[in-house]
């Protein structure tokens, strides 16, 4: 085999989650009362545009969640040897910019390094002399014969990208028209516009990226665009896998507290009130530091650095989940208190239906909308929490690229003179777009599931 597949735990869970969401969507489609709120959500133009943006981010994360170790060229006898470096499909797709490392910082689209170095002059009259200057980059603009061609070359590539975008726009227009004919009440135009905006940005970048560092390079000369794209996966995994940990706890404890009342309610309330009063960062820091020691002691468990970093990411998800279930549990407790007084639950009692069936058949489906809303709303909070935790140093493994580690690295750069702004700006823009899209989408979901916004519910 030319490669050895690597199954990182977070990859597997993330794919399961995506499959679960797809399964839920299929389940909803067949049940009109479940599909209805989602239809309302996607009737909003903003929601559809945000969904498109989130889908693009998710696609990047999914590509980044298929890992393997490429086979090394055979050396001598013995079995096939595989590289110690774990790659993903996204790395393959980005092979144009991956690994083209400069020596240190360089500005976006620059052809020379951002720091002066002593170089030996190779040609001309001064050959052999040592000069202190900004040296040319190894990759960025290396194809240019003369640096005077820089402006023309950049414009040509951006132009080519825009032409490609125009072609894409035409195809998109056709697709939108067809979709509008099939489902006229979905604002396909908004979705198309969002996709087009992404293409107009992405295509010129795609044309530039193999020849320039579009967003510059960081301290060790890595391409910032590559780092930013790799960070998307960590954000999405934190934002989604955490909910996998959080949901079972929150749903089980919240519903039980509201339904059984009495001492069960008291006990659960004490637990979450106590947990709520411990500062979250403190708890997470304690967990992560303990874990760090633990992982170091058992380094033989992991074949590669990627696996160790992944284990830490997974634990971070679990820890975040354990510390953030209280809000949802409190909401669900209140809802269960209300629901368990409703007549249909009383009717179930009159039939002698056992408690566990009442909980699963009557209460759970009737709080599903609250769960969905809170999951979507929590997502952006968790993405931001990761950034903060990594900044403080108790987040993901330092070897993992994430928005948090990028921002953490930028801490030093901001103090430099002249200032290095592009890493921070790239991390900020990517995260901002992701979180804004998630927040706007969450708003639309809340509106779609809120019975009070329903049109036509007015008294007659």
């Amino acid at each position: 085999m030319p490669f050895l597949p690597v199954f990182l735990p977070t990859d597997v869970l993330f794919w399961f989650l995506i499959a679960g969401v797809a399964g839920y969507a299929a389940y909803c489609l067949r049940r009109p009362h479940l599909a209805l709120p989602w239809r309302r959500v996607f009737r909003s133009g903003v929601a559809l545009a945000c969904a498109v943006i989130l889908a693009v981010f998710t696609l990047a994360a999914l590509l980044d969640s298929v890992h393997f170790r490429p086979r090394l060229p055979a050396e001598g006898s013995g079995g096939p040897a595989y590289s110690a470096e774990v790659l993903s499909l996204l790395d393959l797709a980005l092979s144009g910019i991956r690994g083209k490392n400069e020596r240190t910082y360089s500005a976006p689209l620059a052809t020379r390094l951002y720091a002066k170095e002593v170089v030996e002059v190779r040609e001309g009259p001064d050959a052999g002399k040592q000069v202190r200057e900004y040296p040319r980059l190894r990759y960025g603009g290396a194809h240019l014969a003369s640096e005077q061609d820089w402006v023309g070359d950049v414009f040509a590539r951006v132009g080519a990208g825009l032409v490609a975008a125009c072609v894409a726009a035409a195809l998109l227009g056709l697709a939108v028209r067809r979709l509008r004919r099939r489902a006229p009440d979905v604002p396909w135009k908004a979705g198309g516009a969002a996709l087009l905006a992404l293409l107009v940005l992405a295509l010129p970048i795609a044309f530039l990226a193999p020849y320039y560092h579009v967003l510059g390079t960081d301290k060790v000369g890595q391409d910032v665009l590559y780092l930013a794209l790799k960070s998307v996966r960590v954000s999405l995994i934190i934002g989604t896998l955490t909910t996998l940990v959080l949901l079972p706890i929150a749903i089980a404890l919240g519903l039980m507290a509201g339904y059984f009342r009495g001492w069960v309610d008291d006990a659960i309330q004490y637990v979450y009130t106590t947990l709520n009063s411990i500062p979250g960062v403190l708890l997470i820091a304690a967990f992560v530091l303990m874990l760090q020691v633990f992982l170091e002691r058992h380094s033989e468990w992991f074949y590669t650095a990627a696996e160790r970093a992944d284990a830490r990411l997974l634990v971070l998800c679990v820890v975040l989940g354990i510390t953030s279930w209280t809000g949802l549990a409190r909401l669900l407790r209140g809802e269960a208190l209300k629901l368990s007084q409703l007549d249909f639950v009383q009717a179930a009692h009159a039939f002698g239906v056992p408690d566990r069936r009442i909980l699963s058949r009557h209460l759970l489906p009737n709080v599903a909308h609250i769960v969905i809303i809170s999951v979507v709303m929590d997502f952006s909070g968790l993405v931001l929490a990761e950034a903060v935790l990594s900044y403080v140093g108790v987040g993901v493994d330092p070897a993992t690229t994430s928005f948090g580690t990028m921002i953490n690295a930028a801490r030093l750069e901001m103090g430099r003179e002249p200032i290095v702004w592009w890493s921070l700006a790239a991390a900020f823009v990517f995260m901002f777009v992701l979180v804004l899209a998630a927040n706007l989408f969450a708003d639309a979901v809340r509106d779609g599931f809120d019975p009070r916004v329903r049109v036509g519910g007015a008294p007659a």
């Binding site: 009362h33 009383q346 009717a347 239906v353 058949r361 049109v455 007015a458 007659a460």
Partner: protein, 611 residues
């Protein structure tokens, strides 16, 4: 008398996902000085929307499409919002159905009245306060000086509605719109509030637009009556003429659907449902439900004809001649209706008590008890109906639930079929669960919205092991659906696809699915319209006749009691004050409370029911 308020060709449109819904479609009426004009109709007929259109307080999704509302000649619909605010409260005031939500809970009662005064008649604070206290006294609130500084939660429901009336009348409006002002109140309180409204209206010579669904209230209060159906006024008449000889077939059906002793046989039902108002009508809107429909009704929409001077009806039959006075269908024979032969004793309740502990403090010490049910004794025989009557909060629902062991009684015995079930632990209760079932008041809350009808009906059968397997149970369900009059394809649908009456049928089917011998009916018809109530009452009675089920019928509606019950128990503050056969209790009440209760019930004049 001159017209104070005139609505002309008023059309109000509601935007819904299904399209524009014409909630009010060409309504004309005028409100004369000092009269009480009643808009009557079932839910969804557009009576509240008419009132809200007049006040320009429509919900966001609705707007007035065309028409005029003239108050002394000025068109209210053309006024800018700022000028309209000066009209609202000052010249037209409105009181709403739910006094609990119409008052701001964080402001004192006095402040809320002073607020109205301050907005329309700025005066020194002391004068306003005096005036507010005066108003509170006028609406019959005891100790108005003290009540002035109290918060709404310290008042009872009836007192809150009085405060609302005081605030509405603070600046002597010319027109008062009362939207179901007593629907949320008990009968005795209702009688007081109606009396108050009538007195104030007479004293202040104000015009009252009364919106209600209760023909009894109309008979007591109104000078003129308009019946609304599907967004239109179908009949407009003076009260006497209306109650003597209603002209529109719909109005006549409404009377025939009212349960009472005179209607001993099956109640008349109006088949079908109100047509969807999103479609356009070329035909008569009532045609699909009318017994007298002929070809012209399907091709042309009737206008308001005037068969008798002063009485108009929207029906082609009334183009030339008037309909005669109502003749009741008493003749159908009272004997066949109620089963009179009592079976053996099924349920015996002895000194039942349900006390809820009041807990305070960190350790939740019990500092007292709410005695919801305090020594109730009942007896119910097979195939009979016992009505448990009382006002809200008297413990009648708690009694019902305690009999079913949904709430465990604190003391007393519940003997069902010669076994004391009150002392049985949960597991041993299961055999009795199928013998005793319950039907709830609100058909919207009693069915799980996330389950299909089939699952709802099967749940009890599965849980209690009725039927061998699901195939056999589904067979039974088919027969059951026919029994309660639901279409066979209902099983695969969700509750929200059904109307209120159909949902109540589903709830009854759910109870019947486990073959009970006793059904506790907890106000099964009070959330329903009169015509739908008639269907459900007919269904319950025919089921009793065929299956011999006993009902414990919990209600506050005396007319329904009279129609369905063999025996009556009147409850007050957790105790039964009077018990006996329906005739004894309703015709010759012994206890003072029963007498008050019966006197408070607004009665549709006998002339309207039987001539």
């Amino acid at each position: 008398m001159s017209a104070v308020l005139q609505a002309q060709e008023l059309r109000t449109v509601l935007d819904t996902t299904a399209g524009a819904l014409r909630a009010v479609d060409g309504v004309n009426f005028e409100l004369l000085e000092g009269e009480c004009f009643a808009l009557v109709g079932e839910s969804g007929c557009g009576k509240s929307m008419t009132a809200l259109s007049v006040m320009r307080l429509l919900p966001e999704a609705a707007h007035v499409a065309s028409g005029e509302v003239r108050l002394d000649g000025t068109d209210l619909l053309a006024l800018p919002e700022a000028a309209m605010r000066a009209v609202r409260g000052r010249r037209i005031a409105m009181i709403f159905q739910e006094p609990g939500t119409a008052l701001n809970p964080v402001l004192t009662v006095g402040k809320q009245i002073v607020e109205v005064l301050d907005r329309h008649l700025p005066q020194p604070k002391a004068v306003q306060q005096r005036k507010a206290i005066e108003l509170l006294r006028a609406v019959g609130i005891p100790e108005p000086e003290r009540r002035f500084d109290e918060y709404p939660f310290q008042l009872s429901g009836g007192q809150k509605q009085r405060v609302m009336i005081a605030a509405a009348l603070a600046v002597d409006p010319e027109v008062l719109i009362a939207d179901e002002p007593t629907t949320a109140l008990d009968v005795t309180i209702q009688a007081q509030i109606l009396e108050l409204l009538r007195r104030l209206q007479r004293e202040r010579r104000m015009a009252l637009l009364l919106i209600t669904h209760d023909l009894g209230i109309v008979a007591q209060m109104a000078d003129r009556v308009a019946v609304m159906y599907a967004g239109e006024i179908v009949e407009l008449a003076n009260r006497e003429a209306f109650f003597r000889a209603p002209q529109h077939p719909y109005s006549r059906k409404l009377f025939a659907a009212l349960p009472s002793r005179q209607h001993a046989g099956e109640l008349a039902v109006i088949p079908g449902q109100v047509p969807s108002l999103t479609r356009r009508f070329v035909q008569c809107r009532f045609v699909e439900r009318c017994d007298f429909a002929f070809d012209r009704c399907r091709a042309e929409a009737p206008r308001l004809y005037e068969p008798v001077p002063g009485q108009r009806a929207r029906c082609f039959l009334r183009e030339k001649d008037a309909a005669g006075p109502l003749v009741s269908s008493v003749s159908q024979g009272a004997a066949e209706s109620k089963r009179t032969d009592a079976g053996k004793l099924l349920l015996k309740v002895d000194e039942l008590k349900v006390h809820f502990p009041i807990r305070r403090g960190i350790l939740k010490r019990t500092i007292g008890y709410v005695r919801a049910v305090d020594g109730v004794s009942l007896e119910l025989h097979e195939g009979r109906t016992l009505a448990l009557v009382g006002e809200s909060g008297c413990g009648k629902t708690t009694t019902g639930k305690a009999i079913l062991q949904l709430i465990r009684p604190s003391a007393g015995k519940v003997v069902f079929d010669e076994r004391d079930i009150g002392s049985l632990p949960g597991a041993q209760l299961r055999p009795f669960r199928s013998a005793m079932q319950i039907v709830f008041q609100d058909p919207y809350a009693s069915l799980d919205p996330r389950m299909r009808v089939a699952d709802i009906l099967l749940e009890g059968m599965r849980s209690l092991g009725v039927g061998r397997d699901d195939a056999e149970r589904l067979d039974r369900l088919a027969a059951l659906l026919e029994n309660v009059g639901l279409p066979p394809d209902s099983l695969q649908r969700y509750p929200h696809e059904f109307s209120g009456g159909q949902r109540q049928r589903i709830a009854i089917a759910r109870a019947l699915a486990v073959e009970p011998r006793l059904i506790v009916c907890d106000e099964p018809t009070s959330a329903l319209d009169v015509s739908v109530q008639a269907q459900i009452l007919n269904l319950l009675r025919s089921l009793q006749r065929r299956l011999g089920i006993a009902y414990l019928f919990i209600t506050h509606n005396i007319a329904v009691v009279d129609y369905v019950a063999h025996e009556v128990a009147v409850m007050r503050e957790g105790r039964i004050v009077e018990r006996g056969s329906t005739d004894e209790v309703l015709r010759s009440p012994k206890h003072a409370y029963t007498k008050t209760l019966l006197a408070a019930v607004p009665v549709v004049p006998a002339a309207g029911l039987a001539s």
